[in-house]
């Protein structure tokens, strides 16, 4: 089992979700994160005092996938999340030992 983690621009989520669904991946967990990287933040001004906001809002998408789907899932997410502009994000994959569906206690592939 693998865990695919993607940091993407917030407004691409719909496309990412659709791309995963096309691979038959119908579950995911999303969280709000802030990213720092090549993409610049922005500046705010309050009563003449400038505030540099370094971080940019991103979404983190986590999807558990079977080992042999991982590579295709990565490709699908990368394609769906790409705008071609700086700050499009990263996708990475990590190994997973155990997966359980809480409701049933099913494990492994059946847990997805």
């Amino acid at each position: 089992m693998r865990l695919l983690t993607a940091i993407v621009k917030p407004f691409t989520l719909d496309d990412v979700k659709a791309a995963l669904e096309q691979l038959g991946l119908l579950g995911m967990t999303v969280s709000e994160v802030r990213g720092y990287g090549r993409q610049k933040g922005h500046t705010e001004v309050y009563r003449g005092a400038e505030y540099q906001v370094d971080f940019v809002a991103k979404l983190k998408v986590e999807v558990l996938v079977e080992d042999d789907v991982a590579e295709r899932a990565v490709e699908a997410v990368v394609k769906a999340a790409r705008t071609g502009r700086i700050g499009d994000g990263k996708v990475w994959v990590t190994p997973v030992d155990i997966v359980v569906r809480v409701r049933t206690g099913e494990r492994g592939v059946d847990a997805l």
């Binding site: 621009k9 917030p10 407004f11 691409t12 989520l13 719909d14 999303v30 709000e32 906001v53 940019v56 809002a57 991103k58 979404l59």
Partner: protein
């Protein structure tokens, strides 16, 4: 007709109108963020429901321009008959009857709204609407007649209500008719609906304390219309009421947070806001009958007693979620009874003297009788009405709805969506709005079908 008095009564009516939204925020800030809209709605809707009923028959049941039996005023003035172009009040200080009608309406609006705090986080909206309609009809309109309808005010031959004219208990602006009335009904409904899941161990803390303070501030502001406006003239008595209201509120605010400091170790914002409201409640019946020093004592007592009284529900085991009992019932009783001690005819020739001003015990017994009558009538009435609604259409949302949030379940809304604040569009909850329906169809709202199609794409 006196334009200065009219200006003051109209301004006061507007101020009292603002109290209901103020109350909505006072209460709304205290509940969890998934039931705040339901709380706001339970308050705001009283403006709609009571606003219409008042026109139809509410004013007429409460205030009679002729005859009457002391219990309810009848239907002479239904549909606001005899109110357009007529005057009310004593010569020299007469105002258009409609100004009085509107001023009194706002009292009828906020009283049921006060009740809603007892049943936060778990109430079916339409059941509440029905309760409001029935409760004001059967309880509030008669009680307002008892307390507020002085014989001769709205017509030379009117008899007026028994508390104001026969018993002659003092209630300047509604300690009995508004606060004890609402507090007793709140207790009844808390019993009817039962405790929230997890109460008392696991309930949410207030989700928006600044909004609690905003609500308390709007209430305080509007309360000047409520209390000083109840003089129904811009003169000495209104100025006395304005002063006693201010002093008692200030004192109660301090009293409450001092209790907190000793009991809990810290003074809180919620406590300061609650203390102010407790003071406003307690001074309401007394504001035109006591002098500023009397108001100071009433305020201190109210702040301290109400702060302690909020613990009652844990002791007795009823989930009066936002302390309608602790603040409005207890505060209303404190103020109504203390008139018996502090009343002085020095501020109001139509008033009298309490125990501390040489007036003996008689006024105190009258005050207790009035408080008891309203308390009992309202409590029993609300219990019966609430029980029937609960048995028939149900008064409480399902357990799932209570966990998921009443807002979503009852109103198909959520209060806040902040996540998109500093980023691109939040697509977690990105809306899928309805596609324009086909132009050939007649004017119709976006059909759910169209929407679901849309969201599938």
């Amino acid at each position: 007709m006196n334009p200065g008095d009219t200006a003051w009564v109209l301004a006061s009516a507007a101020l009292v109108m603002l109290m209901t939204p103020g109350l909505a925020f006072f209460y709304g800030g205290m509940v969890s963020s998934k039931s705040v809209l339901n709380m706001l709605m339970m308050n705001f809707i009283t403006l709609g429901v009571v606003g219409v009923l008042w026109l139809l028959y509410g004013y007429s049941l409460s205030f009679g321009s002729e005859g009457g039996n002391g219990f309810v005023a009848g239907l002479h003035n239904a549909f606001l008959g005899n109110t357009v172009g007529t005057l009310a009040g004593p010569k020299g200080d007469a105002i258009p009857t409609l100004a009085f009608v509107m001023f009194q309406l706002m009292f009828a609006v906020i009283t049921p709204a006060l009740i809603s705090g007892a049943i936060a986080d778990r109430t079916k909206f339409w059941s509440w609407v029905l309760f409001v309609a029935v409760w004001v009809t059967v309880i509030y309109f008669p009680v307002a007649h008892w307390v507020f309808d002085f014989s001769g005010f709205t017509g030379p031959h009117s008899v007026g209500g028994w508390i104001a004219n026969q018993l002659k208990a003092f209630d300047f602006a509604g300690g009995t008719a508004v606060h004890i009335n609402a507090g007793a009904a709140g207790l009844a409904l808390a019993i009817v609906l039962g405790r929230r899941k997890g109460w008392p161990k696991k309930v949410s803390r207030p989700h928006n304390v600044p909004h609690v303070l905003l609500g308390a501030s709007l209430l305080w502001f509007g309360w000047y219309g409520f209390n000083a406006g109840s003089a129904l003239a811009a003169g000495d008595l209104a100025s006395v009421a304005f002063t006693t209201t201010t002093v008692a509120t200030a004192a109660a605010l301090l009293g409450w947070i001092v209790v907190e400091q000793f009991r809990d170790g810290k003074p809180t914002t919620l406590g300061a806001a609650s203390g102010a409201i407790a003071g406003l409640v307690a001074i309401t019946p007394a504001c035109g009958y006591v002098d500023p020093m009397g108001a100071l004592v009433i305020g201190i007592v109210a702040g301290v007693v109400c702060a302690l009284a909020t613990g009652l529900k844990f002791r007795l085991g009823f989930d009066d979620s936002l302390d309608v009992v602790g603040v409005h019932l207890v505060g209303g009783i404190v103020g109504t009874l203390l008139i018996g001690f502090f009343a002085t005819s020095g501020v109001n020739s139509a008033g009298g003297n309490g125990l501390f001003h040489g007036g003996g015990w008689s006024q105190l017994w009258k005050q207790a009788a009035a408080a008891g009558a309203v308390l009992g009538y309202s409590f029993v009435g609300a219990l019966v009405i609430g029980w029937i609604i609960n048995k028939t259409m149900g008064f409480r949302v399902s357990a799932e709805a209570e966990i998921a949030g009443v807002d979503e379940a009852e109103h198909a809304e959520t209060a806040y969506e902040f996540t998109a604040s500093s980023a691109g569009q939040s697509v977690l909850d990105r809306a899928t709005q309805p596609a324009p329906t086909k132009p050939t169809a007649p004017v119709a709202p976006a059909a759910p079908a169209a929407v679901k199609e849309g969201s599938a794409s």
